[in-house]
Symmetry: C2
Subunit: 106 residues, 2 copies
DNA sequence: AAGATAGGTGACCAGATGGTCACATGTCAA
DNA sequence: TTGACATGTGACCATCTGGTCACCTATCTT
């Protein structure tokens, strides 16, 4: 019953982790300490979340001295999209999604 | 720290629920009993999962007599995509995702 | 060298989640 | 109208998950 994208979906299931992705989407290459400063949580909590995101491939890291830089990887997100939206219905889904976004900005 | 897409991500976090979406992606309009026959789980378990999917808007239903028909709704999936993939990087993410899929089919 | 800084590990606890069952309601068919 | 069928509810329990802490290692700076 399990599938290979399991880690990705588990990673996305937590609001704190989604917020971390939002932060990295806005600006890449941040350190753990910098990300921690944006959250109301201990450093250990943030570290645990980043580890989950990295394990899922949603975040990739690069060490630079004593710092560890974090980058967003959009590929797993695109794979989710491709799993349940085929190329024929993509136009409709996209249009409806944009409509919903516009309606909410009123 | 919570956000409005919370129900969608929670719904997608479970492999059984993703498999249900796969079944509905292949063919829409199935009843609870029909879906249950595809899973190695009690009817109650399947019902609980379908309720979560419906609450998240990933599945919409229509009653027909004593039956309840289930349909896949792709819009929430598209919204996930749009959250972390902007229109400039979409080409690259899409291309890499296709590449990964092709490589895995060898 | 020594203190400060950035990151890491394992154990631990409260709360959420997945799955089952006994039981109940509404609908079809003979 | 009686029985079979399709779906629904609430309680219950084992397990997973989010978060914290005490303690540790590695790197920079002066």
């Amino acid at each position: 019953m399990d599938d290979d994208g399991d880690l990705v979906f588990k990673a996305l299931a937590d609001p704190t982790r989604r917020f971390l992705l939002d932060l990295l989407f806005a600006r890449d290459g941040r350190t753990l300490t910098e990300l921690e400063s944006e959250l109301d949580m201990s450093r250990f909590g943030v570290m645990k979340h980043l580890r989950v995101l990295e394990g899922a491939g949603l975040v990739v890291t690069r060490r630079s001295g004593r710092e560890k830089l974090h980058f967003l990887n959009p590929v797993p997100i695109r794979l989710i999209h491709d799993r349940w939206i085929d190329k024929y219905t993509e136009r409709q889904a996209s249009a409806l999604a944009e409509l919903k976004t516009e309606l909410e900005n009123d």
